[in-house]
């Protein structure tokens, strides 16, 4: 059995945004599909509890979870063109999402679709609801996806790399739209991304994932300004900066992310970690626990380095490169 996601725990409050950051294969998308119960039932198993609006989704049977999907929790995806049915109109698809959970006539559902399209900033929505997904631009398609996901006013919105396929200006518009809608509806958002810039701009909390495990968890401020995990240091120092020296090489994390079929023993990051020698054998011998940085702190990290050494390394070796 492969543990795609292991021992993961996090929470998002209403109106707040949690950014889940990690490389491909770190378990971000699997996590989000599991929340909606969209993982392959015959091939994947989720243990533990998933609470949405105080109800444990993981303990429910399929028909109960289905009633929550779209209504209490909704999802938008990276590739909006692929995520919409090519043979149904945008309006039809939004109206359908609304009609599943609301006993309304076709006319009312259509009205709701127009209202939602208008809300996400599609010009002339009463005309555009008759369009097919391929007739929309990339940014408009993602707006339409957001309209579809928010049509039933869910408590939780999972956005799985919603801006990865878009160019930077459109990306900024979509993120702003999400922020506005979040304020208006009080939606909790889980933003899945590998773009630290996007998280820095949008999220309240960050969950950093590596090989299916949370390795650092805290507020955006803590995790981005005082990162505690060598992986987080690596990510931050590898970002090019406008103010940086153009001749200086970017620092890369050596090696590649592990395959989940053969996760390295001990800390999964240890074969790529520069600071293993500071700890000794513990890194490859035992899995470090996710512990508060200091007693009572909300900032959690999964690393064998002791607090003092971490602070020294950050101050002397990492911070100068940021």
């Amino acid at each position: 059995m492969v543990h795609a996601v292991d021992n993961l725990s996090f929470s998002v409050e209403k109106g707040k945004t949690l950014g889940i950051v990690g490389e491909s294969g770190s378990g971000k998308s699997v996590t989000s599909l599991a929340i909606l119960g969209l993982h392959k039932g015959t091939r994947a198993e989720v243990s533990g509890q998933i609470y949405v609006d105080g109800q444990d989704v993981n303990a429910m049977d399929e028909s109960q979870v289905r009633k929550l999907r779209g209504k209490s929790m909704a999802m938008i995806f990276q590739d909006a063109l692929a995520a919409m049915h090519p043979y149904y109109t945008i309006g039809n698809q939004i109206a359908e999402a609304y009609q599943v959970h609301n006993k309304v006539s076709k006319g009312e559902a259509k009205k709701r679709a127009i209202e939602m399209l208008d809300r996400v900033g599609i010009p002339e929505p009463q005309k555009r609801i008759g369009d097919y997904p391929h007739q929309f631009s990339g940014g408009m398609r993602q707006r339409a996806m957001i309209a579809m996901a928010l049509s039933c006013n869910p408590s939780l919105l999972i956005a799985d790399e919603p801006t990865t396929a878009l160019d930077v200006t459109v990306q900024a518009q979509i993120l702003e739209l999400l922020r506005d809608l979040q304020k208006e509806f009080g939606t909790a958002i889980i933003l899945i991304t590998h773009d630290l810039g996007v998280v820095a701009e949008t999220a309240d909390d960050i969950l950093l994932m590596y090989a299916g495990k949370a390795i650092e968890y805290g507020t955006v401020r803590d995790v981005l300004q005082k990162p505690q995990h060598p992986y987080g240091w690596g990510l931050l120092t590898s970002i090019p900066r406008l103010t940086g020296d153009p001749d200086k090489k970017l620092l890369a994390i050596p090696g590649t992310p592990p395959s989940l079929i053969s996760v390295p023993s001990g800390c999964a990051f240890n074969p790529r970690c520069t600071y293993v020698s500071q700890v000794g054998t513990a890194c490859s011998a035992s899995i470090p626990e996710l512990l508060p940085v200091s007693a009572g702190a909300h900032h959690l990290v999964r690393c064998h380095l002791d607090v003092k050494t971490r602070e020294d390394i950050f101050k002397n070796q990492v911070a100068p490169n940021l």
Binding site: L36, L38, R66, K67, L68, R69, G70, K71, A74, M75, F77, D79, A82, A83, M84, H85, P86, Y87, Y88, E96, A97, V100, H101, Y132, H134, M145, M148
Partner: protein, 330 residues
């Protein structure tokens, strides 16, 4: 839209012209002489010459072809000026060497039987093929799936003349549940028509259901892994609605295309089926004509079949454009 149709019909007519020219040339090259066949045992050179003139095969090929084409559009007159002058109104495809009947009326006589076979069989194979394909896709990997796809693989490998004869042996000869297959008018004796058509329908549908079942299953399974199906599930739709509204809708377009082309080809004559069950349709007519070197009838049946295939192609393209909004007709 209208411009597109006009364009396609013009192109289709051109293809029909090419088909007719090819058929014409083939028979000209063939080492057979219709006049010699018509002349019989007590043939004299004078009689032979008169027959050639009567059949108008004394003329060069291009003249014959020109008259043939003219006959289709405006009709033609045989043996002009003689007392045996014969008017053949448009669309004239000539007269059968064998029975002296106009080819057009032969085709019209045989069309209902072929239409009956095609209509009944297509309903049957769509019903069986689509439903078994859908069930297989939804129950992928289960015994139901393995059984239905196993049967489909077997059925797709069997031939009409094999299945047909076995069914006929069981249901007509042994059990006597059904009469000998054949054709009666559905408007006069609907029950007899259905009983006589039952075996051709089942035999033809047996093979084609298998193909459609596999096609439907493969299409559904492919669409099931599409992102938009995940979206449909994320909306909270019932599994039934996800499968029927989203998966099937995504998988149906190629099936419609194949169906249109199969039906078009079948309307030209279900040759083997008609031959096996001795149903007087277009397919039977064409095999008879080829055996007897009845050139005008062969040309007529080939053109008729080509007409159906071309028409089916145009209709399929129009239907496809209405099924897939990304397709624009230009």
């Amino acid at each position: 839209m209208l411009r597109y149709i006009v364009k396609r019909v013009t192109a289709g007519t051109l293809v029909l012209g090419i088909v007719s020219a090819i058929v014409f040339s083939i028979f000209y090259i063939l080492p057979s002489d219709p006049a010699r066949l018509a002349c019989g045992k007590s043939c004299t050179p004078e009689l032979m010459q008169r027959i050639k003139v009567a059949l108008e095969i004394d003329q060069p090929l291009q003249v014959q072809y020109g008259r043939f084409i003219k006959g289709i559009f405006v009709g033609r007159t045989y043996l002009k000026g003689s007392e045996a002058e014969l008017q053949c109104g448009a669309p004239c495809l000539g007269y059968s060497y064998q029975t002296d009947q106009p080819v057009t009326s032969l085709l019209m006589d045989r069309l209902p039987a072929t239409l009956s076979i095609a209509a009944g069989a297509s309903v049957l194979w769509l019903l069986v093929g689509l439903s078994s394909g859908i069930v297989s896709a939804l129950r992928r990997g289960t015994m139901v799936d393995k059984f239905s796809q196993g049967v489909a693989l077997g059925a797709a490998s069997l031939q009409i003349y094999f299945v047909g004869l076995i069914l006929q042996f069981i249901f007509v000869d042994k059990l006597a549940w059904l009469p000998m297959p054949g054709y009666t008018s559905p408007f006069e004796y609907p029950l007899d028509w259905a009983k006589q058509m039952a075996l051709p329908w089942i035999t033809l549908a047996f093979l084609l259901s298998a193909i459609y079942s596999r096609l439907t299953r493969a299409g559904m399974i492919e669409v099931m892994s599409e992102d938009y199906v995940r979206t449909a599930r994320a909306k909270g739709l019932l599994a039934r609605d996800v499968n029927m509204k989203h998966v099937l809708r995504g998988a149906i377009t190629p099936i419609v295309t194949v169906f249109g082309l199969d039906l078009g080809a079948l309307l030209g004559g279900a040759v083997i089926t008609e031959y096996v069950f001795n149903v007087p349709g277009l397919g039977k007519l064409s095999t008879e004509a080829v055996t007897n070197l009845d050139i005008p009838v062969v040309t007529g049946t080939v053109l008729f079949a080509a007409f159906f295939v071309i028409t089916a192609n145009i209709i399929v393209d129009l239907v496809y454009a209405s099924l897939d909004p990304k397709v624009r007709l230009t």
